[in-house]
Point group: D2
Chain length 134, copies 4
């Protein structure tokens, strides 16, 4: 399977990414650009986007980018800094940069941007690359 087939296979069965309303904008080896609209039910008690939604979007982006080479990869450690609040109606996009790729470990830097191209979150994800193939 190639990158697109793998990601579609993952995505088609991913109930929560569907709930999030994630749209696959670009998919390739080590690359994934995802898009999502902020809805009312995603807000927290401050009327801004719950940090867990931004994390979820970045985490899906990590899963798609790292699995796209054909080897099943799982997240080992992730971190996120929320740098700007998001509101209902905002449109978020992920930008993925592969910072390091060895036989066993991949490290990804994922920025989440809003419709004004401002960074709303900085996410770093480290994955373990197993021998199991897609």
């Amino acid at each position: 399977m190639d990158a697109k087939q793998i990601v579609h296979k993952m995505f088609d069965n991913d109930a929560f990414s569907k709930w999030l309303g994630i749209e696959l904008v670009e998919i390739g080896e080590g690359i994934s650009v995802l898009k999502m609209l902020v809805r009312k039910e995603m807000l927290n008690g401050f009327d801004v986007l719950h940090g867990g939604i931004t994390y979820s979007l970045a985490d899906s982006s990590l899963a798609f980018a790292s699995n796209s080479y054909g080897r099943k990869s799982m997240s080992i450690e992730t971190s996120i800094s929320h740098t700007l609040p998001c509101k209902e109606g905002d449109v978020l996009t992920t930008k993925t940069i592969e910072r390091s790729l060895t036989n066993r470990i991949g490290i990804y830097d994922i920025s989440v941007l809003n419709q004004d191209n401002k960074v709303v979150a900085l996410f770093k994800g480290t994955v373990y690359r197993s021998d199991k193939e897609w």
Copy 2:
């Protein structure tokens, strides 16, 4: 406002925490125990819980524990390691430990446990404590 009043105020308006089905088990200064049932719509393409849901639960726990002292606190940096997969029907509980608290910064260690008391995720959250009061 005391810890319980603050958290109820945050929680009552938190649409996404409501969607998650979060239940407040224990609330106090620097403490928050939350409970959540894993539902089908929370699963990812591997039929296990999407990492973003576990993060969301821990992140809500961080917000409640750190704001409970009466000063508005916001997450600066959070990290999470997913140590065990979760399935539909699992019941997750958070356990919060305040590791450090200074005038400006709070650091929290939040474990997410399943119904068998096994750790499914290790979360660390750092907050900035503003001067604004609840």
Copy 3:
């Protein structure tokens, strides 16, 4: 080789841990307690201990604790929060807790304490456990 033999083999050839003046207090599978005196040449421009020294002590502790099972293990990702400044003459001790251990990944929580038993740094280390044996 058992835990003690492995750590002594690592430590005996570890020039920088020697420079740090590290003392092995306790060694076992998944455990390592190290001790170190803060010297003048370890201070930064604020006349407090350079964060890199505290990290180094915790990182050595991680290496010893994780390699002690007999499988060569290497650090994948580490994070540290410096919670209290240290001064010349302080005596630092590490306390290691193994938070998760699977076939491939180990996660360690290492606290660095001073002579008054106050936490000066919170360190988290994730290692990859290779198949190579000591």
Copy 4:
């Protein structure tokens, strides 16, 4: 004081950065490029550079870049992934990117590169910006 004056003031009194043999290559607001030669006494038991040295170099780079605006800034949380081993004689250089800067918080991405321009470590640092001026 301007960026260069501040960093020189910090650096001139920084005993451990001196021991490391750090050379200031470029200094500016939010910017610091540091250079360092790997010496024998910096190696660990595997005969490669101790992770604590790489961290120390990046951490000094963080301190210089974040303090250069004139407000005293202190590290809240730092993380580092060691992506390539370094040997005696290697020459390391830091490259600093300011990822976010608000009134209270600065987030820096610091890459450590070797003489072949290969990334040996990825460091992320978050600082708290106090009101105290240099």
